[in-house]
């Protein structure tokens, strides 16, 4: 998520392919190094939508469709 843009695609790939996974990890780390928060949208068995916050690429479920990065929260 970016001001003035909405969401932007940063990286795309299949984590089962080693080369693509390395690119995904690099993109993930770059965002976290910038201080971004990362969330993985999930859906419960009942259809309920939720999100899981992740702080390491290993925490991203293997079947996750996407990870969304957004600026960290700050008191307003």
């Amino acid at each position: 998520m970016k001001p003035g843009h909405g969401d932007q695609l940063l990286a795309e790939g299949d984590p089962k392919v080693a080369e693509e996974e390395a690119e995904l990890i690099e993109a993930f780390r770059r965002q976290l190094d910038q201080g971004m928060w990362a969330a993985v949208p999930t859906r419960e068995s009942g259809g309920r939508r939720e999100a899981t916050m992740v702080r390491d690429f290993d925490e991203v479920p293997r079947d996750a469709e996407r990870v969304i990065f957004f600026p960290p929260a700050a008191g307003g």
Partner: protein, 199 residues
């Protein structure tokens, strides 16, 4: 003073002025000319572009719809805010919830009584790129709050400045929104929506 002496004084005066201020005057003229060339471009860059902002807002709404679901998106469009329940109370039922307004404080309320509990002032300022300012599109701001509350409520609450209800938002207005949200939830017919904790 004769006309000749006045002309001589004027010429000498003009010469002295040119010697004294000539280089500065020339620089000033050059600077103004250069600035005259670049200013419209700078102004264009600084002026808000309604088209770009509208496109960003639409992208943000599409993302909200795909992440939070169709029903949440419809509720957001109709009510102007999202809703999420907090921790579970007795019998596994949620004891409190949050109303999530774009670029306004979160408001927590008691599910049972509808009483407003607190205002949580929190935002997601983007300090990495100043080109378009710090402000996320409205739907992105709402979605970021929804994801953070859903995934890590404690971190979001810790980051927020907590106040009593009424600091920024009109409590009567928020109470009406709680009612509107309840009515919206009860009128929703989708089975998915009925089991969802978002409105």
């Amino acid at each position: 003073m004769s006309a000749v002496s006045i002309i001589v004084v004027s010429i000498v005066g003009a010469g002295l002025f040119a010697v004294a201020f000539g280089p500065d005057a020339a620089k000033l003229v050059r600077r103004r000319r250069d600035r005259g060339d670049s200013r419209p471009q700078q102004l264009r860059e600084r002026l808000p572009d309604p088209g770009r902002e509208l496109r960003a807002e639409r992208r943000a709404e599409d993302l909200l719809r795909s992440v939070a679901g169709e029903e949440a998106y419809e509720a957001y469009r109709a009510l102007g805010f999202l809703h999420v329940y907090g921790g579970e109370g007795a019998l596994g039922r949620p004891s409190y919830g949050y109303l999530i307004y774009p670029h306004k404080p979160l408001v927590s309320y008691d599910v049972e009584s509808g009483e407003l509990l607190s205002e949580l002032c929190v935002g997601f300022p983007d300090r990495t790129e100043g080109e378009f300012g710090e402000r996320l599109p409205d739907a992105d701001d709402v979605l970021a709050k929804w994801m953070a509350l859903s995934g890590d409520e404690r971190s979001l609450v810790d980051a927020a400045n907590m106040h009593l209800p009424g600091r920024q938002l009109d409590p009567d207005h928020v109470r009406r929104d709680v009612l509107r949200m309840s009515e919206w939830t009860s009128s929703a017919t989708s089975s998915t929506y009925g089991s969802s904790d978002i409105a």
